[in-house]
């Protein structure tokens, strides 16, 4: 080894040319911890082998050897062979030789595709619109299956899952009451404060009460509650059904001869359809109460005046408009949430994705539906 540190002077690998042969000497731990240096050193060795393609490597100084080291030696052998040369491995223990042979059996015929990194594309609006058609179809299929299941449940009331429905109602409606009360109360108060603040300049204090009244009864109450329910209940429906789907629980139900729509989805959708009008009513009352407190303490209106003005402003029609919309919106939230849940495939990421989609789609559809109802109600003069 005349010129031992001619080219490579690592502690792990040294090599030099002697009498037309490239002689390399390996030392130390050829293990995963040193893989980076080994890879670099061996790349230099492979490069040097272009000049002298007959290479031999002496492994007798190797103190530890693992798959990483073995693969790097095997890779070197292949690189040299591909360039028409030959690698002789000497001084290797029988045990390490066996590992090297194991690596020689690795084919690497198909190079692995580079892993698809995260793509940062702009949100694809056109694609999203196109997907809407598929969603509409899925929605209709689910709605149809639900109608069929409820027809069956009506014919055989005993098959209806009452316990499950009551349990769901407790979760969806009863436990949502505090948060709904709080949010609608605050929003009612905020709208009132803004209204009084802006309209006082025109001396239109009294009309603020009219605005509050029909805004809350017709729109704000039901919209706020629907959005809360979509976020709170819709997402949990999707996650529940999605994880059942992932663990093949839904397949198990089917093979036992049950209809998952009847057992899992009908009670859930039914509950949300019943819960939404009830929560809307409670929410609207809380909002009116919040607005009333602002009217009394901020705008200095007497409670009697607020109530009588409210009574004048709100007709039964306004009240009905809000409550008629609620069950339809509830059905849409429930159906979208369940349909998304059933679309979940294998991975945890897919579960997260569909849960998000469920909420986003529900909120979008709530607003669209609200717009359609607005057209409808003004058409019939309500």
């Amino acid at each position: 080894m005349a010129a031992a540190d001619l080219a490579g002077s690592d502690t792990l690998l040294t090599f030099a040319v002697s009498r037309g042969r490239l002689l390399a000497r390996a030392r130390g731990d050829w293990t995963c911890q040193n893989a980076r240096e080994l890879e670099a050193g061996l790349a230099r060795l492979a490069h040097a082998s272009r000049q002298s393609p007959r290479v031999s490597i002496d492994m007798s100084g190797v103190t530890a050897f693992d798959t990483f080291g073995a693969w790097l030696v095997e890779r070197l052998r292949r690189d040299i062979a591909a360039a028409g040369g030959k690698l002789a491995v000497a001084g290797i223990s029988a045990v390490n030789r066996a590992l090297l042979d194991e690596m020689a059996a690795v084919s690497h015929r198909e190079p692995p595709a580079p892993p698809a990194g995260p793509r940062f594309a702009l949100p694809d609006t056109v694609g999203a619109l196109a997907a809407l058609r598929g969603d509409a179809a899925a929605f209709l299929v689910m709605a149809g299956a639900l109608v069929e299941a409820s027809a069956r449940a009506i014919r055989r009331p005993r098959s209806f899952r009452l316990t499950s429905t009551v349990h769901q109602f407790d979760r969806v409606a009863w436990q949502a009451v505090p948060i709904i009360l709080m949010i609608t109360f605050l929003i009612g108060a905020i709208i009132a404060q803004q209204g009084f603040f802006q309209f006082r300049r025109f001396g239109a204090d009294l009309y603020v009460v009219n605005m509050i009244g029909f805004l809350i009864m017709r729109e704000i109450g039901v919209l706020l509650v629907a959005i809360m329910v979509a976020g709170r209940t819709g997402s949990s429906y999707t996650a529940e059904l999605g994880s059942m789907k992932m663990r093949e629980e839904i397949d198990a139900l089917k093979t036992m001869g049950f209809d998952p729509v009847e057992i899992l989805i009908l009670p859930r959708v039914l509950v949300i359809v019943l819960a939404l009008p009830a929560l809307t009513f409670i929410g609207s009352m809380a909002a009116l109460f919040g607005a009333g407190l602002v009217a009394v303490f901020y705008a200095g209106m007497s409670p009697d005046l607020y109530i009588s003005q409210l009574r004048e402003a709100i007709s039964l029609d306004h009240f009905k408009v809000g409550l008629i919309k609620a069950p339809f919106i509830g059905a849409v939230i429930g159906i979208i949430a369940c349909a998304e849940g059933l679309k979940v495939r294998g991975s945890a990421a897919s579960l997260g994705e569909h849960t998000t989609t469920s909420v986003v789609k529900s909120i979008f559809m709530i607003i669209v539906l609200d717009g359609l109802f607005a057209l409808f109600f003004s058409g019939i003069g309500m």
Partner: protein, 263 residues
Amino acid sequence: MAAGNATAPPIVRVRDLTVGFGAKNVLEGVSLDVRPREILGVVGGSGSGKSVLMRTIIGLLPKRAGSVELFGHDVDRLDAAELRLVERRFGVLFQHGALFSSLTVMENIQFQMREVLDLSQRLLDEIAVAKLEMVGLSAADGRKWPAELSGGMTKRAAMARALALDPEFVFLDEPTSGLDPISAGEVDDMIATLQATLGLTVFMVTHDLESLRTVCDRIVVIADGGIVADGTMADMARHQHPWVKSYFRGRRGEAFVAPAGRK
């Protein structure tokens, strides 16, 4: 087959271990050593506590009494950072695979390598393919998602992940269950090869008599909340405990023990 080295300090040392849930103790006063370079087979009836023993040694379940030493360190005395270093020295194959569902098989195998080692992407890919092929999968399988694998493929992929860092010691919970007998034989061969080449120590929970016969140096039997038998396949053939008797000398076991005296 390299027999366990009886004089070297044990890799795992369990003393008087008691583990339970609620009012019931699943394991009571279990003591066990796993010696360097041995392949230890752990058998026992379903629900006897094999997985519980494994999970307690790994530190996933709390113990009610007793001590666990890994690589000579009492796990209760290590701080979080030291524990992490110890944990990197062993690989685990869970009974149900426990592959990360949002990563491809390839990424599952590379996950720990990427975290712990400083490697080029090329080397990461090549090593991952090598590991896949060692367990009998192909590079094409590496691109699949865990949800797209068959039961046996899941086992193999999880095995490849357990071996990703070339650990000194692996815990395998039923490595051959769900595989056809030929593939199971290949897995056994692979475990034996790795044991011979890497000097791997193996703690293997299994129901597979063939694995016990061909690769295990030592067998312990768990029943009634404790270890009731400890020895080689030949010792098992002579053992008098009723469960051991019916397991190794029952209709299924007979074929394996009868021509023994050899092993």
